[in-house]
C-alpha cells in the first residue's frame, strides 16, 4: 500500500475532434485551401485604397435619411412590395400543399414522390433573383413577374418542410382515422392536417417575412416593388433616400419578426 496513485496536476481541455490525425489533416487542409483562395483572389488594392475615403463620403451621404422628397415613390414601392408579398405567399403555399403531400414518402407512390421532390429541389436551387430574371423575361416588367418568382421560391421552401413534417408525423392517428372507413381526403383532412397545422402556420408567417425581404431585391432585375425604387435611388445618387428605404425595410422586417414570434407562441 506504499504506492501512491499519481493524479495529474494539470488538465487539458479535450479537443472537439478526438482523432488526432483527422484533426491535423483538417487544419492542414484548411491552411492549404485558405492559401489557394487568397492567392487566387485578384483584388485591385489600389482601387480599394481609393475607395476607402470615397466610402466614408458615401456613408456620410446616407445621413440624414431623407424620407420626404421622394415619399410618393417610396410609398408606392413599399405598398407594391407588400401586395406582392401577400399574394406570392398565399399562392406559393396553395401550390405547396399538393407538392408537399406528393413529396411525403409515407403518403405518395414512388413516381409521384420523385417528381415532387425534383420540382422542390429545382425551385430551391435557384435564388429568387434568377427566378425573377426569367419571370421578367416571360411576363414583362412589373410586380407580376416578382409575384411569380416569389411564389416559385415559396414552393421550394414550404413544400419541403411540409413534406418533412408529414413524414415525421404520428402514424397511429392516421391508422385510427383510416379504421373508421375514411376516404383519402377525409384521411388527409382529419388525420394529417391537424398534426402539421401548428408548425405550418408558424412557417407561413416566417415565409411571409422572407418574401418581403426578397421582394426588395427582385426589383433590381425589374420585378417591381421597393427594390425598383431602391435601385433608382442608387442610380440617381440619392443616397439619403436610399437610406430611408433601407430603414423602412428594416423596420417592416422587425415588425414581421415580432408578429411571427407572437403568432407562433399563440398557435402552440
Amino acid at each position: 500500500m506504499s504506492e501512491q496513485t499519481q493524479y495529474p496536476s494539470t488538465w487539458k481541455k479535450p479537443p472537439f475532434i478526438q482523432n488526432r490525425l483527422l484533426r491535423w489533416c483538417l487544419w492542414f487542409g484548411l491552411a492549404i485551401y485558405l492559401a489557394l483562395a487568397f492567392g487566387t483572389l485578384d483584388v485591385n488594392w489600389q482601387r480599394v485604397a481609393e475607395g476607402i475615403p470615397r466610402g466614408t463620403k458615401f456613408l456620410s451621404a446616407f445621413f440624414p435619411p431623407d424620407f420626404f422628397s421622394r415619399w410618393d415613390s417610396i410609398q408606392d414601392g413599399i405598398l407594391e412590395s407588400i401586395w406582392m408579398t401577400v399574394i406570392a405567399t398565399v399562392a406559393g403555399i396553395a401550390l405547396s400543399v399538393p407538392f408537399g403531400l406528393g413529396a411525403a414518402r409515407n403518403l405518395a407512390p414512388r413516381p409521384v414522390y420523385l417528381f415532387c421532390r425534383g420540382v422542390i429541389a429545382v425551385s430551391r436551387t435557384f435564388p429568387e433573383i434568377i427566378l425573377a430574371i426569367f419571370a421578367v423575361k416571360l411576363f414583362g416588367f412589373g410586380p407580376f413577374a416578382g409575384f411569380i418568382a416569389l411564389s416559385i421560391a415559396t414552393i421550394g421552401f414550404y413544400a419541403k418542410l411540409l413534406a418533412e413534417d408529414i413524414e415525421a408525423m404520428d402514424p397511429g392517428q392516421g391508422e385510427a382515422v383510416r379504421a373508421t372507413g375514411a376516404s383519402w381526403f377525409q384521411w388527409v383532412n382529419y388525420a394529417i392536417q391537424p398534426q402539421v397545422m401548428p408548425r405550418m402556420i408558424g412557417l407561413a408567417v416566417y415565409r411571409l417575412d422572407i418574401n418581403f425581404r426578397e421582394s426588395a431585391v427582385v426589383g433590381i432585375v425589374g420585378g417591381g416593388g421597393i427594390g425598383a425604387t431602391l435601385l433608382t435611388a442608387f442610380d440617381r445618387y440619392e443616397f439619403d433616400s436610399a437610406a430611408a428605404i433601407l430603414l423602412i425595410i428594416i423596420f417592416i422586417v422587425m415588425i414581421l419578426e415580432y408578429a411571427s414570434g407572437y403568432l407562433r407562441k399563440w398557435v402552440q
Binding site: A37, F58, M84, V86, P127, F144, M254
Partner: protein, 270 residues
C-alpha cells in the same frame, strides 16, 4: 368537438357552430385581402405579355438547348471564385458573429443597452439582402470578388449571431456555475463553461450558412461583385441562351454538391 342532435340520432362535428362560423369569417377576410392585393397587382400588369408567356417560354427553351458545353472552359475560374466568396465570407462572418452573439444573449450581455445595439446589428444585417450589400460595396471598393466576400460576410453576421445567441440563452446554467465554483475568471467561464456547450450548434450553423451562401454568391455577379453571376449576366445580356443554360446547370450542380457536403458534415457533428 361537438355533437349535434338530429332526428336520425347524434351527428359528430369537428367544431361547434359558433367556432365554425368564426373560422369562415376569418377565411372571408383573408380571401378578401388576397383578392384586393391581386387586383392592385393586376392593374399594374400588362396582361398581353402574360398571356403571351407560354409562347415565349417555348421559344426561350428551344434557344437554350443544347447547352454550349465548350463554354465550360471559361466557367471553372468563376465557379472557384464563387466557392471562395461563400467560404471566406462565411469565415469572416463567423469571427464577427461570435462577439455580437455574446453581447446579444441576455445571460452574457454586459448591459441592456449593449444588448439593444447588438440586436439592431443583427436585425439590420438580416433584413438587407446580400445583393443590396453588394450594390453598395461595389460602389465603394469597386467591382470584384472582394466586394462579394464582404457582402456575404455582412449579410451572414445577423443570421449566425441570431442562431448563436439563441443557443447561448438556452445553455445549462449548472455547468457554468460549476466552473465558476472553481474560481474561474469571466474569460475562463466563457471558454470552459459556455463555449463547449454551444460548440456543436456553432459548427452546425457555420455549415448551414455556408450552404446558403453558396447559393447567394452565385448571383452576386449580377451587380458586379464577382463569381459566376458575372458570366450569367453577360450571357443574358448578349442573349447567348446556350451559355445561360450551361451556367444554370453548373449552378445546379454546385448547389447540389454543397448541399450534400453540408448534410454529411452536419450528420457527422450531431
Amino acid at each position: 368537438m361537438a355533437v349535434i342532435d338530429s332526428t336520425d340520432g347524434p351527428i359528430w362535428r369537428r367544431r361547434t357552430t359558433g367556432k365554425q362560423l368564426a373560422i369562415w369569417c376569418g377565411w372571408l377576410v383573408g380571401v378578401a385581402i388576397v383578392v384586393y392585393c391581386f387586383k392592385l397587382i393586376s392593374d399594374k400588369t400588362i396582361w398581353m405579355f402574360v398571356l403571351d408567356s407560354g409562347i415565349q417560354a417555348a421559344d426561350m427553351a428551344s434557344r437554350m438547348v443544347p447547352p454550349k458545353w465548350s463554354y465550360m472552359d471559361n466557367l471553372w475560374r468563376p465557379v472557384w471564385d464563387t466557392i471562395n466568396i461563400a467560404t471566406t465570407g462565411t469565415m469572416i462572418a463567423l469571427v464577427l458573429a461570435v462577439p455580437v452573439a455574446f453581447l446579444a444573449a441576455s445571460n452574457t450581455t454586459p448591459h441592456k443597452s449593449v444588448r439593444a445595439v447588438a440586436l439592431f446589428i443583427i436585425v439590420s444585417s438580416r433584413s438587407i439582402n446580400s445583393l443590396i450589400w453588394a450594390l453598395m460595396l461595389v460602389a465603394i471598393i469597386g467591382p470584384g470578388t472582394l466586394a462579394g466576400i464582404i457582402a456575404i460576410a455582412l449579410r451572414s453576421i445577423g443570421f449566425c449571431a441570431k442562431l448563436l445567441y439563441e443557443a447561448i440563452e438556452e445553455i445549462d446554467v449548472k455547468q457554468v456555475e460549476a466552473v465558476e465554483a472553481t474560481g474561474a475568471t469571466g474569460a475562463q467561464k466563457l471558454a470552459y463553461g459556455i463555449a463547449p456547450q454551444i460548440m456543436p450548434t456553432f459548427a452546425g450553423i457555420s455549415v448551414f450558412r455556408w450552404d446558403i451562401n453558396i447559393r447567394e454568391s452565385t448571383v452576386l455577379g449580377l451587380v458586379g461583385a464577382g463569381g459566376i453571376g458575372l458570366q450569367l449576366d453577360a450571357s443574358i445580356s448578349t442573349l447567348a441562351w446556350t451559355q445561360v443554360s450551361l451556367i444554370l446547370l453548373v449552378i445546379l450542380g454546385t448547389v447540389i454538391v454543397s448541399e450534400w457536403v453540408s448534410a454529411k458534415v452536419r450528420h457527422a457533428i450531431i
